[in-house]
Point group: C2
Chain length 349, copies 2
DNA sequence: GTGAAAGCGCTAACAG
DNA sequence: CTGTTAGCGCTTTCAC
């Protein structure tokens, strides 16, 4: 039924040369004379020869392929990150095998195993919210396949990482809020067991301490990274009896949840409660009032991750390396000095 | 340097059985006795055996892999679509190889070739804005690899497709606007050369004709699918001297462009100009006023596409098939009867 | 139930 | 410059 796919041998026979000659010619190997190469290439095109990468990879023991594991796709941050990874890989002639854990640790393990079985040359991973087990990473290490963590990092000896400066980024945001004039500051925070939660918490504490402000435990809530976490978090703070002037949230979906809660309570942003969050998104720009944030440069993140894994692939003995990408603040209509929103388009600092 | 990866032979030798027995046992083949199977599986686990899919696929001539080509990732529609495709594939034990054309026709061809070389079992594609050339699709056909178009379709004999009901979806939206009371209706439309532009244009014309409304050519602009196209489109209409009461846009980014233009002109939505668009997004919900739209059920689209390609894979002689997914209207604060926005949360019809 | 033979399509190493 | 030999790791077929 299926049309016979044409192989190196087919070309070789027609031209009365050996399979090897064809293979080399097609790859532009200098061994082969210009003439031969040309006639081989022509025939290949004429016949519609399509190289078989499985065979090629099997015999060369390289796949020119990088596995990528992320928790989500339809999410501004990961969407941009993935796109950056794809672009950088494309520039370097590598293919990406993308898998999505859906924030599920078991599924993540399955994907990792699949990538190993596909014999990818390297792996880039942003772990799920719930990943705790180290075993699979040891397995990866044992197979000698390099792996790089990006953004959501597990600190395991031997693995490199690329992350944004979560701690100092948060510090900057809180400091900005203080400069704007706030001293009653709350935090709807992420869980401590994952770096992006933990580091952002530390940044918050740093900033408060640095400016001699007390942290009111009623105004600090820990939870997940979704809208409902923001909604519930704000409600909890509200019910505590008093409200801070300003709230920082660990992600933008959490901030959206706060917007919803504030709305349901008949309050107003930024009059009754002002807000900033960690992480930019297209929504930040369009929501009203538009939402200021700590911006993570996803393109740099993605690019660095690919470049780092490529280094590891090309130099298996390379030492681990930890890259931190600086953040900036994007100021929109929330958390603005004197709330002079009118003239403010959008500034980046 | 690289640790020796362990193979079927390694296991076979240790257990004094043949490689074939191990292969079968690991795949749960009924040929092998329970006992043997068990001991083989145990040893495999103990040794950390990781099957080599390249070898497996090469010899079995199946890859259990589906290629997916899309124009963009960081875009609400495609993000959701991709996620649906991944989920459905995962449920069916297929891997997805995702590639991104970045709306670039040449890059698309390259990706398609790569997928062929990877010997994917089938391909799902949403073509770029600029794809015109059919040659590569003929090549795919010649290789006997099934391909299904999703959303952005090329009508080539022999290929199946899954799309949303662009024409009737647009019809519904325009009809709704008419019921709300508008008769001066404009359209910032997509190019005619691609189905999603063309069909939506037809739907617009259908509705106007059906309700005996004249189309004012000054209020109809054709262009691309991005924000700038919406901005420029609205400006062009504005400069024509008169404004319609209501504008339908071919995508949501185009609508966002209109929001920006309207704002720059000191006008107001929906007072001075009301609007709806084709395609939902998270922004539609958060922008002010929140934007009503024709909703494309991305999950159904993705699911159907995967199921369809799977049918083709499992039955190579299957006839082509064209699936159309119905749309619904999501009504928010724009284009609402009497602009009774207050009580309206969000309704789906 | 088990295994021997053959081969998937390609590349690496070496010989000529 | 070209070709021979060997093999990547696995599955399929068929005989025992």
């Amino acid at each position: 039924m299926k049309p016979k796919t044409i192989t190196l041998d087919d070309i070789a026979k027609r031209l009365n040369v050996s399979r090897v000659t064809v293979s080399k010619a097609l790859r532009g190997h200098p061994d082969i004379s210009k003439q031969t190469t040309e006639s081989i290439k022509n025939l290949a095109k004429e016949l519609g020869y399509t190289p078989n990468y499985m065979a090629r990879n099997l015999s060369s023991k390289k796949s020119h392929t990088i596995g990528l594991v992320v928790p989500k796709i339809a999410h501004f941050f990961f969407g941009s990150l993935i796109e950056a990874v794809y672009d950088t890989a494309f520039e370097n002639n590598y293919e990406i095998i993308l898998t999505v854990s859906q924030e599920n640790a078991e599924r993540e393990i399955k994907h990792l195993q699949t990538l190993l079985s596909m014999r990818v040359d390297g792996i880039i991973i942003s772990i799920s919210e719930f990943t705790k087990d180290i075993e699979i990473f040891n397995a990866v290490q044992k197979m000698g396949i390099p792996l790089v963590f990006v953004d959501r990092v597990m600190e395991i000896p031997g693995f490199s990482s690329v992350a944004v400066a979560d701690r100092t980024g948060t510090f900057k945001a809180i400091e900005h809020a203080i400069k704007v004039g706030y001293s009653k500051i709350g935090h709807i925070a992420g869980f401590d067991n994952i770096n992006i939660g933990n580091k952002r918490n530390l940044g918050f504490e740093d900033a408060m301490k640095h400016h001699n402000l007390a942290i009111n435990p009623n105004w600090v809530v820990q939870g997940g990274f979704g809208e409902e976490d923001g909604y519930n978090g704000f409600m909890k703070i509200y019910k505590s009896g008093s409200l801070p002037e300003f709230i920082f949230t660990v992600t933008y979906p959490v901030a959206l949840g706060v917007y919803a809660a504030v709305d349901d309570l008949g309050l107003e942003i930024p009059k009754d409660i002002d807000i900033m969050c960690f992480g930019n998104s297209d929504i930040n720009r369009f929501i009203s009032p538009s939402l200021s944030c700590v911006n993570q440069p996803t393109d740099k993140l993605g690019k660095s991750a690919v470049e780092l894994i490529l280094e590891h692939i090309n130099n298996p003995n390379m030492e681990e390396k930890h890259i931190e990408i600086e953040t900036d603040l994007i100021l929109r209509e929330t958390c603005v000095r004197n709330n002079l929103k009118s003239d403010l388009a959008e500034i980046q600092i």
